[in-house]
């Protein structure tokens, strides 16, 4: 009897150990699923095109996604609270033309257009946030309204025409290099670090998760839900503004038509990166990987010279495929 038992125990232990490894492997896949998919994409691309892995090309990819990635971080936080932000693309346009107005050479010092842009972006965010928090309007509608209105404002202010002719200092923001690294990439890295810390390691971040996890429970736990929402949308607006300033500087032109469709790319980055549209789930690193996947795809298409009519088809399939392969998503429902 005793022997039997110990054999069984041993077996159980063995099974347990095996299970542990399996669990570990599952955990890694679950936790880093989309990241692994991204790596796989990169490997395939580098085999198809020798140009892909060149530092220069990778730098270009990162600089290209910097704008969407910065927007997507704000959008991610909004989605984590269970909301959505459709206004980012139009806010980019509005900030672009307003910033451009103050960025001409020999007028204002460079911080003026930057501050004007950031202020306007934050302000639009604050309005959306207030409508959502105090008006109890679904964020979809509040930001849809803002999306429409901000686009109109951008056209009105610029009379539908692009605004160019910038000071050297202003052009440095999007086009300059610092220690051989493009400035937008440096800004991106800074924003990633700041936003990641904000979301994962501060009270504000915990409240964002709490609101998305269960808004009622958040209220009962003493979270000032309205304030957090307003602050959050303001921050998201600020990030859109920052992205807009980089873009405006980079293309040397304030564009009322800028940013069209960016909101969808930003949301897609977040969701591909594992953010749940039901709220409560999502991370900044995930979103960055999501943005990278989209960026690498676009770059790969251009490098390989794929028939542009096939590109959207392949892209659509890959977006769905990536999320499908992402084990985490499979489990979270």
């Amino acid at each position: 009897m005793d022997v039997n038992k110990s054999v069984q125990e041993n077996k159980a232990l063995g099974a347990q150990a095996q299970k542990k490894y399996k669990d570990l492997a599952m955990n890694i896949i679950r936790k880093y699923g989309i990241f692994l998919i991204f790596i796989a994409m990169c490997i395939v691309l580098s085999m198809l095109s020798p140009s892909f892995l060149k530092i220069r090309n990778l730098t270009i990819v990162v600089r290209q996604i910097s704008i969407i990635a910065i927007v997507a971080m704000g959008v991610t936080m909004v989605i984590i609270t269970g909301g959505i932000d459709l206004a980012s693309g139009s806010v980019i346009a509005l900030v672009s033309v307003m910033t451009a107005k103050f960025a001409h050479p020999n007028t204002y010092p460079v911080f003026v257009p930057v501050l004007v842009g950031l202020a306007i972006g934050s302000f639009t965010g604050m309005i959306s946030g207030t409508i959502v928090a105090k008006g109890k309007i679904p964020p979809f509608i509040a930001t849809l309204g803002m999306m429409t209105a901000a686009r109109g404002a951008a056209l009105l202010i610029s009379d539908g025409k692009p605004i160019g002719d910038f000071s050297k200092e202003f052009e440095y923001i999007g086009g300059g290099h610092f220690l051989n690294v493009p400035v937008p990439i440096l800004i991106l890295i800074g924003v990633i670090i700041l936003t990641h810390i904000l979301l994962s390691s501060t009270k504000f971040g915990k409240y964002i998760y709490a609101i998305g996890g269960n808004e009622n429970a958040a209220v009962v736990s003493g979270v000032n839900v309205d304030k957090v929402k307003i602050m959050l949308f303001t921050y998201a607006g600020l990030l859109s503004a920052l992205a807009s300033i980089i873009m405006t500087s980079r293309i040397s032109s304030g564009q009322p038509g800028a940013g069209q469709g960016f909101e969808l790319d930003a949301i897609a980055s977040a969701v591909i990166g594992g953010t749940s549209l039901n709220g409560g789930i999502g991370t900044i690193p995930g979103t960055i990987v999501g943005a990278l996947i989209i960026g690498v795809l676009n770059n790969g298409f251009d490098l390989l010279g794929i028939n542009p009519y096939w590109q959207p088809i392949v892209k659509g399939a890959i977006i769905v495929g990536a999320v499908l392969l992402d084990e985490r998503k499979n489990r979270s429902k």
């Binding site: 220069r56 610029s158 040397s252």
Partner: protein, 305 residues
């Protein structure tokens, strides 16, 4: 600047493999545009016949930033010449700068860069001219007086801006012509149609509709026709698409402006190949607009066959 030296080295390093084909990158502002797709077709058709040249086409999806990234990617890839159909003519400075630094010839097609002198060559016409030609014809037919309604494409889009500008430039010269309505139709026929239907219901008296393109003009015509007012309102467009020429032949469309898609497309590739080979190229290759009046519609219909 010291940085300029480093990227410039890249193209020099590329042609080490001797028998490699010339690589030319074509960055279109968007594939999803009818007239541009004709130009693209002509480019593809022509480049198929070139044995020593590989041409890569990319779609800027009407986004300035995307296009800029694509031009940079071309440079990083080691293209020998780049053709750009700019999304926005005012936002071309970073492209010209990047191309200059890398020593890659940059040819603009169909839309003139704001800083064209920084680029290698331009093949095409001037957008504002199309607007001017269309409106001048309409103004003349209106007898120098009356009310005009304007259908604008995608605002912020260069063709929309420039053509509308052209309209207004002409109208300014006629004190008796007034703009009574202006609406955004996003280049789309269905939008043009809905807008015109609404205008026809309003108290506005409209004598002529100046549209940024033919598609919206056709939309407007369909609305006018449905309201039984065909012939009472002048309608003009730009592009001289086959559809538009049909409408003109049927006596519905009053004027359009022909832009030589094939001429521009083939011209751009030819210029790019020459520049890539190090030959000298003209800084501007004009492919002029042609006003299409109902009288000579058949000539243009023949062009599309």
């Amino acid at each position: 600047a010291p940085k300029a030296a480093e990227p410039a080295a890249t193209p020099a390093a590329e042609p080490t493999k001797a028998p490699e084909k010339l690589k030319i990158g074509v960055a279109m502002s968007q594939f999803n545009d009818k007239w541009l797709s004709y130009m693209l077709d002509s480019m593809q058709e022509y480049s198929k016949g070139l044995t020593d040249v590989e041409v890569i086409y990319v779609d800027g999806k009407a986004d300035v930033n995307t296009q800029l990234g694509q031009v940079e990617t071309f440079i990083a890839q080691g293209c020998n010449a780049i053709v750009v159909n700019p999304v926005n003519t005012d936002a071309t400075e970073p492209m010209t700068k990047a191309a200059k630094e890398a020593g890659v010839p940059l040819i603009s097609v169909n839309r003139l860069f704001k800083n064209q002198d920084e680029a290698t060559s331009y093949v095409g016409s001037e957008s504002i001219k199309a607007g001017i030609m269309e409106m001048e014809y309409l103004a003349e037919k209106m007898g120098g007086k009356g009310n005009v309604a304007i259908l604008v494409g995608d605002p912020g889009n260069e063709a929309a801006i420039k053509r509308t500008e052209g309209f207004k430039e002409v109208i300014k010269k006629y004190p008796d012509i007034k703009i009574v309505a202006e609406q955004i139709g996003m280049w789309q026929r269905d939008k043009g149609m809905s807008i015109m239907e609404n205008w026809l219901q309003s108290d506005l008296k409209i004598d002529a509709v100046a549209s940024n393109n033919d598609e919206m003009a056709i939309g407007a015509l369909k609305a006018i026709e449905a309201a039984g007012k065909l012939g009472t309102i002048l309608v003009g467009g730009v592009d001289a698409t086959p559809d538009a020429l049909e409408y003109m032949k049927a006596g519905k469309l009053n004027v359009t402006v022909f832009q030589d898609a094939a001429g521009q497309g083939v011209g751009a590739i030819k210029t790019a190949v020459a520049a890539a080979k190090g030959e000298k190229v003209e800084p501007i290759v004009w492919i002029p607009y042609e006003l299409v009046k109902p009288e000579d519609v058949d000539k243009y219909i023949a062009k599309w066959q």
